[in-house]
């Protein structure tokens, strides 16, 4: 971590959260310096959402220390929540109420002094000025997502928690949201974003933390993680299952790292292979964060 990033927006030390016999968060250490976008990348059930709920005081830790924006959690969580914005995974807008009222309600909950000005600013951000008087029920899916994001920003928070911000959205809406999130990041807002979409993390995150089974198992800038864990290139071989297991066995016998990639077998770090080790029909491509993710978590990525 660079020296000028002395102030951490989020600091978690040895955090444990159990649900009965299930350990959702298992000794988690996590620092998010001010002004960066950290992508929390992990498969479903890795503990990402629980981590988010711990940060808003909606889950209480069984052990460990938590700080957000200098406030101890969960004891001082209300003060922390006043300064952070949350964009939930599930759309929980009030559907019968107008766009404008949805924003005004949250401006009041966050004790924003000038509700009217905050609502106007949020409407501009979500590009919904022309729809301010419409019920949320009448909005398209993309508009609802933009509104949900703008609602979380109504009080101009220093820190924003995005929980799977584009889960289940079609590609066009996703791109639209990415632009909005990227603008926030450029404006200096600290962002903690959980996602299980590799592309989302690659595009938006300054740093990525790979989480599985309630812990961070690796962290760094996307390019660093790729260089460290998989190398420069990946070779993919397509074919019937028999052929794939043959390729896999052969590559493993030569000491190469292999992962399944949907209908193919991927040999990662193929630039390190001896001549002849990579089948001739293999497709060579640049290594990606997806390769890192699958190598580290053992799960196929989305």
């Amino acid at each position: 971590m660079r020296a000028f990033r002395c102030m951490a927006a989020i600091e978690l030390r040895g955090v444990v959260k159990r649900f009965g016999p299930i350990v959702a968060v298992d000794g988690l250490d996590l620092d998010v310096p001010e002004g960066i976008c950290l992508g929390l990348l992990g498969p479903n059930g890795a503990g990402k959402s629980t981590t988010m709920r711990l940060l808003t005081g909606q889950a209480l830790p069984d052990a460990g220390e938590l700080r957000a924006l200098g406030h101890e959690l969960p004891g001082d969580s209300k003060a922390a929540r006043a300064e952070m914005g949350v964009v939930p995974q599930l759309d929980n807008l009030d559907v019968d109420v107008t766009v404008e009222e949805n924003l005004a309600i949250f401006a009041r909950l966050y004790r924003v002094p000038d509700v009217g000005a905050a609502v106007d600013r949020a409407l501009d951000l979500a590009r919904l000025r022309g729809r301010r008087g419409d019920a949320v029920d009448d909005l398209s899916g993309g508009m609802r997502r933009r509104l949900l994001l703008a609602r979380g920003l109504i009080h101009e928070p220093k820190l924003i928690l995005l929980d799977e911000p584009t889960v289940g959205l079609d590609p066009q809406i996703r791109t639209e949201l990415w632009t909005l999130i990227d603008n926030l990041r450029s404006g200096g807002t600290t962002i903690l974003m959980s996602t299980h979409y590799i592309e989302e993390a690659e595009r938006l995150a300054d740093e990525v933390a790979v989480m599985t089974k309630g812990r961070i198992i690796s962290r760094g800038r996307p390019a660093e993680l790729i260089a460290e864990h998989v190398g420069r290139q990946t070779a993919e071989v397509y074919g019937p299952p028999d052929r794939l297991s043959e390729v896999r066995a052969d590559a493993e016998a030569r000491g190469l790292a292999v992962r399944p990639a949907g209908p193919a077998i991927a040999i990662v770090g193929s630039e390190r292979a001896d001549n002849g080790a990579i089948p001739e029909d293999a497709v060579i491509r640049a290594a990606t964060l997806e390769d890192v993710f699958v190598m580290l978590t053992g799960e196929e990525a989305e």
């Binding site: 959260k17 649900f19 629980t50 709920r53 808003t56 005081g57 909606q58 889950a59 209480l60 924006l69 200098g70 406030h71 101890e72 004891g75 001082d76 209300k78 003060a79 929540r81 006043a82 949350v86 939930p88 599930l90 929980n92 009030d94 019968d96 109420v97 009222e101 005004a104 309600i105 949250f106 009041r108 909950l109 966050y110 004790r111 019920a135 609602r151």
Partner: protein
């Protein structure tokens, strides 16, 4: 930094209530229509049907006025316990509304207090409707009736707390059938709204005294036909009922909403 924010902040409670008001503006017509029509239908059916053939008056009060004043209590329980049960459950489970509110600087205590206060205020207005209808049916207005909204408020707060606590305790929405059959319907029938509880077996009379709705019925009749000293005790018991259910609702909701 690190400054502890206060509990039960008026701004947080007002914010949550403003959400309820914004939603209410989209459905108030239907709720208000049924709350006005219902006592009229009851008074026509009971008053004109029953009093013409079976009961003329109860304790010197014409049966229409007896039922009309009693119906304040039924209006209160049906506009407090039921909306609290179903509304809380739907907002928590189906709409994820509480997740959004609790991510803002609002605690469960403030959330529950605001929801109860909103339902309580609303039910105290709807509770007065049967009284106004009964006045239209010939009941003489009395100054004491100005206290009826206050009696309704504390009763409604208690039943709102009951509904919230139930919503936080059931696993599935259809379990409300048990709650309605075991609590709401018996409480409303054995409240003295439709017949005097003095007609019940002695054991049941004691149980009926523990029914907050019975205390409300007696207070409303006191307001219409003259108070007695015991009415102060009745009112105090409604305040105690509201306070107890307020804390129980917060306790149940904290268990449900905070992991």
């Amino acid at each position: 930094m690190g400054s502890q924010m206060r509990r039960l902040e008026p701004a947080a409670i007002a914010g949550v209530m403003s959400r309820e008001m914004a939603n209410f503006r989209t459905y108030w017509r239907g709720t208000t229509f049924s709350s006005v029509l219902e006592p009229i239908v009851y008074l026509l059916a009971f008053g004109l049907g029953l009093s013409a053939t079976l009961v003329g008056e109860v304790g010197g009060v014409p049966y229409v006025q007896y039922v009309g004043t009693g119906m304040v209590a039924t209006a209160v329980i049906f506009s407090s316990a039921l909306p609290a049960m179903f509304g809380t459950f739907v907002k928590h489970r189906f709409q994820n509304t509480y997740d959004a509110i609790l991510a803002a600087p609002v605690d469960v205590e403030e959330l529950v207090s605001a929801e109860m206060l909103w339902i309580g205020l609303r039910a105290s207005v709807y509770g007065c409707v049967p009284l106004l209808v009964t006045i239209a049916f010939g009941l003489n207005p009395a100054f004491g009736m100005l206290l009826v909204p206050l009696f309704c408020l504390f009763t409604a707060l208690g039943f709102a707390g009951f509904g919230v606590a139930m919503a936080a305790s059931v696993a599935k929405i259809d379990q409300f059938n048990y709650v309605t059959a075991l609590f709401v319907t018996p409480l409303f029938l054995v409240s003295g709204a439709f017949f005097p509880i003095s007609g019940l077996p002695e054991g049941l009379q004691v149980v009926a005294q523990l029914n907050p709705l019975h205390q409300l019925v007696e207070l409303v009749r006191g307001a219409a036909f003259g108070f007695a000293a015991i009415d102060l005790v009745r009112f105090a018991s409604l305040v105690a009922f509201a306070l107890a259910l307020w804390r129980i609702a917060i306790w149940r909701m904290e268990l449900r909403l905070i992991d």
